[in-house]
Amino acid sequence: MNWKIGGAQGSGVDSSARIFSRAVALAGLWVFGTREYYSNIKGLHSYFEVRVDSNPIQCKVDRTSLLASFDAETLIRHATTVEDGGGIVYNKGVTETSIEKVDTINKEVRQEIQQRLTDKGLKADISGILEESRRRGIHLYPIPYDDLVAQTGKRIGEQQLSKLTRIINVLAVSVSSALLGIDKRYIDDSIRNVFSGKQRIIDMNITGAQVAYEFVSENYHEQFPYKITPIQSKDRLFISGNEAVALGKLVGGCRMQTYYPITPASDESEFLEAHENFDVVDGKNSILVVQTEDEIAAITMAIGAALTGTRASASTSGPGFSLMVEGMGWSGINEVPVVITLYSRGGPSTGMPTRTEQGDLKFVLNASHGEFPRIVLCSGDIEECFYDTIRAFNYAEKYQLPVIHLVDKAMANTNVTVNPFDTKYISIERGKLVQEHKDQDELYRRFKITDDGISPRAFLGMSGFRFWNTGDEHDELGHINEEPENRVNMMNKRMRKLETADTDIPDREKVNFFPASKTADITIVSWGSSKGAILEAMKLLKNDSIEAEFLQVRIASPFPTELVKRQLSKAKLTVAVEQNYSGQMASLIAEKTGIIIDNKIVKYNGRPISLNELYAALKNTFEKPEENRRVVLTSGA
């Protein structure tokens, strides 16, 4: 089942989606909820899609089962995405709104729609849209929202109806859930959670929900084809990528976070700030979140903090990362562990701030002038976001280098149900530190040349372990040194750490390999948030007797060259699936292994990959590989 709700940004659509999703989760089902919105604060269209199933879900789909709306724009934009036999909940009052008038939609797009309706002999207004839907067998549910608001007002004794406008959201949600047969108690509980602390609003909305449920049961006896039946389930988290990273930071020992506001990264920092004091088994810990003047200050402050032994990180997105590259280079040559969480979004430049993309991989791998080791982790889903965050800090400290953790907008703003995170097997590994006691007379060599490239690390303020750092090439003490021999030794030492890391890190943390049950017809390679759609598409392909295997690269540096070579060299047909223009992982694989990926399926319209389009593209690719060397996916509104 795929529920969708749309409405103007800032009108409360987000809380509606939350209420609905949580309610469904309370019923024991799995939820996968995505969000699309413009780079705008109020007024432009935003929408949420909530996919629901009794089995875990990993991606979005194209078609909507039930569309909940209260404005005209949502109908204009989304009615055509409702599947034949699905349903549309809408505001009775907007039926006569003409397409022409909805000026938040691009003029050309409006003209196209008007044309389409006219061509079908329909009126160029909402009634035309609805009629078009009705012809496809879609169940229409016109809702007299104004009446329902008024009724709610009456019940709670609120005369000023303007104060109640926002409950229209909950009315839309409640009508939907009533139609889907969701127990109203789930909705009520969800309302309490989402508006927690605001009793008046809770009461208002719970009453509204009651009114809506009654309205549905009075008017729509007929069965809506989809039903949500509660099932047994353990406790789950209902969580977004932003939140998963934030929890990973707290659990992983991060105690200072710097940030400069940027979409879609700053929600993470704000979550941390809202939880700056938290419990540990033996008392209280805290995280200091600093809003800096820019991203240059964010990264350099985080590095300053890291020098004191603090696990520190900076979170940002492309434009901010672009400003961090000089600072990152300094942490590279000075071997300072620092974690950068990079939420990739549509680029280049300001690009599409609220849309997703995987366009930064090659940039982060090569960012900053000169050469130094770095680790780049790419999470593929929201659970990996959590666990990888912790690994990022461990790697940073073990190998004393900057770690970039690549996530993206699609994960950041997706809300899913997951099993509670399991911290049993998680350790905090601080790497090679100096021993408390050392020979008094011996100078501490912060950059001592060692076989594995890693030198025992001291923190600023540790008695007897004074050291120097400089962005210049330096000697073991950390003093500037330009001598050619020292230079070569130091470069070798630093780069050696990448080999050490490559040897240390277990294969399962480098790649996930999802085998086919028989010899694979097609070998998919991918990384990041494309993972979910690929895994689901593989199941559909299997139904068609197409055997697919999937290599998910989780670490882009040090690149797992041998592992990747091994998996790909025997492949029949390799296909890279990526959310960028050029197929950056495919490039990286070619660079490292010489293997040219046969086919690419790419997407760069800013919207996440849907199951349907990927399945179709993979199938076509399998059937006619020559004709499909590069397939561009385009679904999404």
Binding site: F238, G304, L307, G327
Partner: protein
Amino acid sequence: MALKLSDVRTDLFNDWCPGCGDFGIEASLQMALTELGIDINRVVLFSGIGCHGKIVHWTNTFGIHTLHGRTLAFAQGAKLANPELEVVALGGDGDGYGIGAGHFVHAGRRNIDMTYIVHNNGVYGLTKGQASPTQRLGEQTKSLPQPNINNGINPIILALSAGYTFIARSYAFNTRHLKETIKKAIAHKGLALVDVLQPCPTYNDIETKAWYDGEDRRDASGRAVPRVYDVNMKGHDPLVSKEMDEDQVDKKIQHVFRLSKEWGDQIPIGIFYQEIGTPTFEDRISARIPSYLQNPPAKQIPPGTTKSTVELEKLSSELTVQANNV
């Protein structure tokens, strides 16, 4: 065990040009540290890129030679993560007032308890003498092909407008004054700026040592009449406290303004402005995070390999869905 000057020096070859004002700054700083008797294991110097930046390598404390213009950001990060450190940031005028001007302004807004010393020599020394932001309009130091066409900034007023709670100026070759000023800056609770007039004999042939010392002007007895004079000796009281009324504060600020504009024949040095009692950033954090000073970020995670002690279930309770339990 009292500190000796030799304790705070390294034995590296110092490669500044002969006669460089940086030597005076280095000596004053090291003397100040010695006399203050702070545990040098607690002291962290940060510097930027430029001739000045090498100072940390000649000094035997923790020494972090950062990036051009970013000294303050690195330094603030360290201080916030471990407020027990004694943090002194050192910058060049190109470094601190040029490329670093943004951080300069925003550090003022925070008022973290640390010291910032700027080696103000009017030029970009290490890149061979281009005009720095303090060089005055129309001046033409040695290696400029043309006279400078930018206005020089006034660091005192810039600091004042940014919120620095301690603003001083000193002169590199008045090591006594500079040393005392640095001591007071370190002792000040809040962000302290010490702008140091620093001759660069190689590239700045206008504001030379001879010029500051007034060797072109001699009194009756033939002695040079220095341009630099100590405002505090001349009666300027820099203190501003919460007890003073707005008018008194305004007057003081106006005087600072006037002093800061003096240049040429009379160049004031000394403490121009000092605000007492303004909460530091650390104070403000403590109001939000009560355990901050006792258990700062740097102290929370033990060394070695451990299990996370965070109560994840509590922390994520609002995100938890207890299915069918409604």
